[in-house]
């Protein structure tokens, strides 16, 4: 069944949103030195990269950038099915005394973020961890919220929120798919 797709953000919209989020981060943190960006695989990595560029353009600060794979920390590993592929984590800086801005594409149940917090904990003790997401679609299953939200998008659980990122998918857009037919 083909279901209608609704465009939430186009390429220009994503870029504008990231610019605004970078400004918000800088507004919150007068001292930019301890800032570090950590992108959650897969698409969060590229969003973190872009936020890093924006912070450089706006404030002239080059924050360290890391990549986090949360697979080992998932809470559904003991459920049925082959274990998902574990990919590389790269955190090329000491987390101690850092303010970590965790970056992901969509905030949904909150389970990925729970896993990411557990994972970061095993690498060190940052001064603070904040969360930046491009889209918050609601339906949390854990007490987790984002500090920087690109766009709040009310959805039904039947719908899918798809974020496409140039580096992975060839173009930038955020859409809502499915829903009515499911």
């Amino acid at each position: 069944m083909t279901s209608p797709e609704k465009l939430v953000l186009d390429a220009a919209g994503i870029d504008r949103t990231l610019t605004r989020m970078a400004h918000e981060v800088l507004e919150h943190h007068k001292d930019v030195k301890p800032l570090a960006l950590v992108g959650i695989r897969t698409r969060g990595v590229f969003l973190a990269e872009r936020l890093q560029k924006k912070l450089l353009e706006i404030a002239g600060v080059e924050s360290p950038l890391g990549t986090l794979d949360i697979t080992m920390y998932r809470d559904d590993l003991s459920e049925v099915g082959p274990n998902p592929e574990v990919r590389e984590t790269k955190l090329p800086f000491d987390l101690k005394a850092k303010i970590i801005i965790l970056v992901d594409d969509v905030l949904y149940t909150g389970r990925t973020i729970r896993a990411a917090l557990d994972a970061l904990n095993d690498y060190g003790r940052p001064k603070m961890i904040q969360l930046a997401v491009l889209v918050d679609r609601g339906h949390r299953e854990l007490p987790i919220r984002a500090d920087f939200v690109g766009k709040n998008v009310p959805t039904s659980v039947r719908e899918r929120v798809v974020i496409r990122i140039r580096e992975v998918d060839g173009k930038d857009e955020a859409i809502i798919a499915g829903g009515s037919g499911a």
Binding site: D69, T71, M72, Y73, L77, S78, E79, V80, G81, P82, N83, E85, V86, R87, E88, T89, K90, D118, N121, D122, Y123, G124
Partner: protein
């Protein structure tokens, strides 16, 4: 280096040998190991991936390095690990291997890491138990995790396996390490050369797609990697070569001989090293020697294997 092109899922409950695996399955283990290698470099060397899983290390033949490596891999995955050796077990009281395995299964164990002096023992046992079996060395047949860590080290240093000339010098006849390497490397497209005294090379091994060269100089000429294997005196009931000294002077590798290999060739050894026999001491400590890198990589490879097998067990 990630082989993202061929996405496959791991479905086997056992790892018995590289003979059974496809090139894609070997690639999946190597990619997974690359991700797990980071865990051992952290301040907190632990990931919760196997939390609540129980692993029994059933070592029915002496082992230190493999057992310790598996134990560390299990602990760094948060599995509960228990060791069993033949000396202290009921097997000395006459219990059969089958009964031992049945008892371990009754203890609700998920995975059994097993070393046995008889070739094929883990293969037989795996059909009779729901537990996942990891072969940690069976007789002279295979030692799959050692073969995988050798291939992992080679791929890490050379960036590929296809087209590499990989030479094994030493006691091939009694070497399960060599057999696992031969299965794995030929599947991944390497050119494998075996070298040693005629009495220590299994008859007909060329059928597996490898070359046999008895002259060490010719064998290592232009090699990308040379793996030395020790003489396994404990497995020899008859005299297969005149003396250790004669072996050392004919097949022992030294810095001079190693220059015949490519300038950037790497030297590997599965251990334990017998300095002055199969390898000159200075060569073992040279910058081209990656013997200790292999030891480090062994943990990541074993973590990857345990992680993938534990995923397949859930389908029961």
């Amino acid at each position: 280096m990630m082989s993202n092109g061929t996405k496959i899922q791991w479905t086997r409950k056992d790892l018995l040998g590289l003979k059974d695996l496809s090139a894609a399955e070997i690639g999946l283990i190597l990619d997974t190991a690359k991700s797990f290698s980071e865990v051992s470099q952290r301040a907190v060397k632990k990931s919760p991936a196997l939390r609540g899983k129980t692993v029994v290390n059933l070592f029915l033949e002496p082992s230190t390095r493999t057992r310790v490596s598996f134990e560390l891999a299990e602990k760094r995955l948060s599995a509960d690990a228990i060791g069993m050796a033949s000396g202290g077990s009921s097997m000395t009281k006459g219990e059969s291997l089958w009964d031992t395995i049945a008892n371990i299964e009754a203890l609700k164990v998920d995975l059994i890491v097993m070393r046995h002096s008889s070739s094929g023992a883990p293969h037989r046992v795996s059909n009779y138990t729901k537990c996942g079996i990891v072969n940690a060395g069976d007789g002279i047949n295979e030692h799959p995790t050692q073969g995988l860590l050798d291939i992992f080290t080679l791929r890490e240093l050379k960036g590929k396996i296809r087209g590499l000339k990989v030479v094994f010098v030493g006691d091939i006849l009694h070497s399960r390490v060599a057999r696992s390497n031969v299965w794995g490397l030929t599947k991944l497209g390497a050119e494998v050369v075996l070298c040693g005294p005629k009495t220590l090379i299994p008859w007909g091994i060329e059928e597996l797609g490898v070359k046999v060269i008895h002259d060490v100089r010719k064998a290592i000429d232009g090699a990308d990697a040379v793996t030395l294997l020790r003489i396994q005196m404990e497995r020899q009931n008859e005299t297969l070569f005149p003396s250790i000294r004669e072996y050392a002077s004919t097949f022992g590798l030294n810095t001079e001989l190693f220059k015949l290999a490519k300038p950037d060739a790497i030297l590997m050894h599965p251990g334990p090293v017998n300095r002055g026999v199969e390898i000159e001491s200075a060569l073992a400590d040279s910058t081209q020697s990656y013997i200790l890198k292999q030891v480090t990589n062994g943990i990541a490879v074993r973590m990857a294997v345990l992680y993938l097998l534990s995923g397949a067990l859930k389908n029961e």
